[in-house]
């Protein structure tokens, strides 16, 4: 199953490579072209490395199959013989083609016996004189024991068979069977695993890892994975490139080294993060504990995910990655999520949902606060209020409610009525907010002409001290129209209460204050008059009712 996952990764890489290649070929701009081409070569190197890791670590096949996989790997990635093969095969007389022997050699070097034999048969038919030699060589190639091809022999049986075959080849070579045809002779030497013979074909092999695999094929076919370590790498270049060091480390089964080298060589964390994660799932990584990221896998995933957060939409993927990092994922997410630019409300809401799902209360509070401040600065009181309610920020809600009330005192009307009307239980967040809600309710009741209810509420606001003292004057002034109604609304008791409120309010003021504020004084006078009149009417009304 994990193998399938690995294959999926590789097909993704290949798909990207295709796209890049398309882009490279279709662009006219040389700079872009070279950029895309570079990408293509990086991606192909990535696939090469991943494939090798898949073979060596994920699949971790036994001796024989391992070799077969490696041969496949070499065939797929290392040598591009197809064009050469096509050229030779499509010519009139393939055997006479100048590249004929190159193609045969390469088939042999890659262990593609059947194809080599097929070509050789053409040579045989073209050159009757070498028929004998051909027959022997063909036979040898046919008889070559190849491990892991569905046979059920044990390793020792295989070894024996191979030893036998090897000796037979040796005999033919020493007998001088192939002496007259240097090409066939060299092929025989290759079959025997002669290093020099193989090295002669350097140009065809092109890379040291191809050489490695060829050598393995012809010298240790039953290679158990451990033995790979003991092979010497005949480096032909003096300084290995990063790709070389990575592959070398892979062949030596130094997984950590592979990861480290890849981290250094590649500029993006995608590759190492995902490869390490896969290897971790295969239970192949010992967990050293690094203090800066708990273990290798988590460290790399954290790095990769952090990188995603600078992208305007990929950050959401980053969230999922952090979720899969048990030790530091949460704290990294907390830090990053606060820094996402919240240009739109939708984005803010999206971010908040993510935080709420993970109980990141501090981040929720912080983000709501930031949004509320932004709204407040832009004088969007309703928005600011709803953000502070969401943040459960009582202090800020009080502040905004005060602003609302101030606006009302100045302009005589409310903004954002919808919001205030539908506060519901969140009204209770702060006293001021409760007052705001209830006060608005009072206005609504009044508008619906439910005067007695409105009156009761108004009184309640003062007597229960829900209303701030600063607002009492406004409330009492609001009571005036109720007092002036044709019908008596306030009961006697209520009227007494109102009078008491008025006195409480004016009691504190000094005489000087009273005289300075003409409007205030007038209001107070009007109120006193209205209250008195109401009292008179209500006493009569109540007296009359009781009488009858």
């Amino acid at each position: 199953r994990l193998l399938q996952v690995s294959k999926n990764y590789r097909s993704v890489i290949r798909a990207c490579m295709e796209d890049m290649h398309q882009a490279a070929t279709s662009t006219r701009d040389p700079a872009l072209h070279s950029q895309y081409s570079t990408q293509v070569s990086i991606l192909s190197a990535m696939e090469l490395i991943w494939n090798l890791c898949e073979i060596l670590f994920v699949e971790a096949a036994g001796a024989g199959p391992l070799l077969l996989r490696l041969l496949d790997w070499v065939r797929l990635h290392v040598c591009d013989v197809d064009s050469m093969v096509r050229e030779v095969m499509s010519s009139e007389n393939p055997a006479k083609h100048e590249l004929f022997w190159n193609v045969v050699d390469i088939f042999v070097l890659q262990g593609r016996m059947d194809e080599a034999r097929h070509l050789l048969s053409k040579e045989a038919s073209a050159n009757p004189t070498s028929v004998n030699m051909y027959k022997i060589l063909d036979d040898l190639m046919k008889k070559m024991p190849v491990p892991g091809l569905g046979n059920t022999q044990t390793l020792t049986e295989m070894e024996l068979k191979w030893q036998h075959w090897h000796e037979e080849c040796q005999r033919y070579l020493q007998d001088g069977t192939f002496a007259s045809n240097s090409h066939m002779e060299s092929i025989c030497k290759i079959l025997l695993g002669d290093d020099d013979a193989i090295l002669e074909k350097k140009e065809l092999i092109t890379t040291w890892y191809h050489f490695l695999v060829t050598r393995l094929l012809y010298s240790h076919p039953t290679v158990k994975p451990m033995e790979l370590r003991m092979d010497l790498f005949l480096g032909r270049e003096s300084s290995p490139e990063s790709l070389d060091t990575i592959l070398m480390a892979a062949f030596e089964f130094e997984m950590h080294q592979v990861i480290k080298e890849c981290s250094i060589a590649l500029s993006n964390w995608w590759f190492v993060a995902h490869l390490t994660d896969l290897l971790d799932h295969c239970k192949l990584l010992q967990s050293h504990n690094l203090y800066f990221g708990s273990n290798m896998r988590e460290f790399l995933l954290l790095e990769y995910a952090s990188g995603l957060f600078s992208h305007h939409s990929l950050w959401q993927l980053g969230v999922d990655y952090f979720d899969h990092c048990p030790e530091y994922g949460r704290v990294y997410l907390e830090l990053h999520i606060e820094r996402i630019p919240l240009n739109t409300e939708q984005k803010a809401l999206k971010v908040l949902r993510i935080c709420e799902q993970r109980q990141m209360h501090e981040q929720v509070r912080s983000i709501c606060k930031i949004m509320a401040m932004k709204a407040l600065r832009n004088n969007r009181l309703g928005s600011a209020l709803s953000w502070s309610i969401r943040a459960k920020d009582a202090a800020f809600a009080t502040l905004i409610s005060d602003r609302f009330l101030k606006d009302y005192s100045e302009r005589g009307c409310f903004s954002d009525l919808d919001l205030i009307d539908n506060l519901g239980p969140s009204m209770l967040l702060s006293d001021r907010l409760t007052f705001l809600g209830k006060y608005r309710e009072f206005h609504r009741l009044y508008g619906e002409k439910r005067f007695s209810e409105a009156a009761k509420l108004l009184l309640l606001l003062m007597t229960a001290h829900i209303a701030p003292c600063s607002f009492w004057m406004t409330l009492l002034t609001d009571a005036l129209p109720l007092l002036e109604q044709k019908e008596v609304i306030f009961s006697a008791e209520q009227t007494y209460e109102l009078m008491r409120c008025l006195e409480d309010l004016t009691a504190g003021k000094s005489d000087k204050q009273k005289f300075q504020d003409d409007v205030e004084t007038m209001k107070v006078e009007m109120l006193r008059l209205a209250l008195a009149r109401n009292l008179a009417r209500v006493i009569v009304k109540e007296g009359t009712l009781e009488g009858s």
Binding site: F292, L335, H336, R377
Partner: protein, 269 residues
């Protein structure tokens, strides 16, 4: 001030002359406090600015307005650095001056940026060039400030000092001095703390240096007494081959950026 537009371009939305001397540093407050900036200058003052939302015309023309909320004039010499404290400490900032005094101010009402009161004055005995608050919001750590000095005096006094707030005395007191830093220091920065038990401090001097400060258990006699720290240098980079002027951490404290006289910005991992 530059704003980044939707398509990723930066536009200069405000530019104003205000200080009567070079402006040394500017720093942002946490967005929870609104759009707030602080600046400090050679003219011995530090100022706090707030962005005002102007007319819609201005918005269209891409201009914003900043008003000065307060000027802090207590310093008698050039104010070399100003930094806001971590947001969990409220609306607080610290300034440091060339005469060696670090001042800590607080705005008790976060909605009123014109009212700041001087809470602490710390005398560092060395000309100060930079300060850094420890961003760690853990309850285990008291507020901590690192102060760097570019004093050229020949006495080999440590050029980086660490001050910690003492709950008992309600004052900041010197907790440590980095004795190994003897060259003029141009910038310091605490790294964000992701649950580490120790602190990390980067210093910009003639090279880039990174120290770890590990709190050693406080003396049993005085709970709330000064913490002692075990100091180790974990990195020293002289790749700039010249004076390093600024150091800055990324948000997870995993990458350090440094800039130097060689005209390069280097990133350290």
């Amino acid at each position: 001030v530059w704003d980044k537009s939707e398509n990723g371009d930066w536009h200069c939305t405000a530019s104003w002359k205000t200080h009567s001397g070079s402006v040394w540093r500017v720093t942002w407050a946490h967005p929870e406090f609104g759009q707030v900036l602080a600046s400090c200058s050679f003219d011995r003052t530090a100022a706090v600015w707030e962005e005002i939302v102007g007319e819609s015309n201005d918005k269209l023309r891409g201009q914003s307005h900043w008003v000065k909320r307060t000027t802090l004039v207590d310093s008698r010499t050039s104010v070399t650095d100003v930094k806001f404290a971590p947001k969990h400490m409220g609306l607080m900032l610290a300034t440091c001056s060339a005469d060696g005094v670090v001042r800590i101010y607080e705005a008790p009402d976060v909605m009123n940026l014109s009212q700041w009161s001087l809470q602490h004055e710390i005398s560092c005995k060395l000309s100060c060039s930079c300060i850094s608050w420890n961003p760690s919001s853990s309850r285990a750590h008291s507020p901590m400030i690192a102060v760097g000095s570019d004093d050229n005096s020949p006495n080999i006094l440590a050029k980086v000092q660490i001050y910690e707030y003492n709950e008992n005395t309600r004052k900041y007191a010197k907790a440590e001095a980095l004795m190994t830093v003897t060259d003029p220091v141009h910038d310091i920065a605490f790294a964000p703390n992701l649950g580490r038990s120790f602190h990390i401090l980067a210093v910009a001097t003639k090279d880039v240096r990174i120290f770890t400060l590990k709190p050693v258990r406080k003396e049993l006699s005085s709970s709330g007494g000064l913490t002692k720290f075990e100091i180790h240098i974990v990195a020293q980079f002289d790749n700039h081959n010249s004076q390093v002027w600024r150091v800055s951490w990324n948000i997870t404290g995993t990458v350090l950026a440094s800039s130097g006289d060689d005209g390069c910005v280097r990133l350290w991992k």
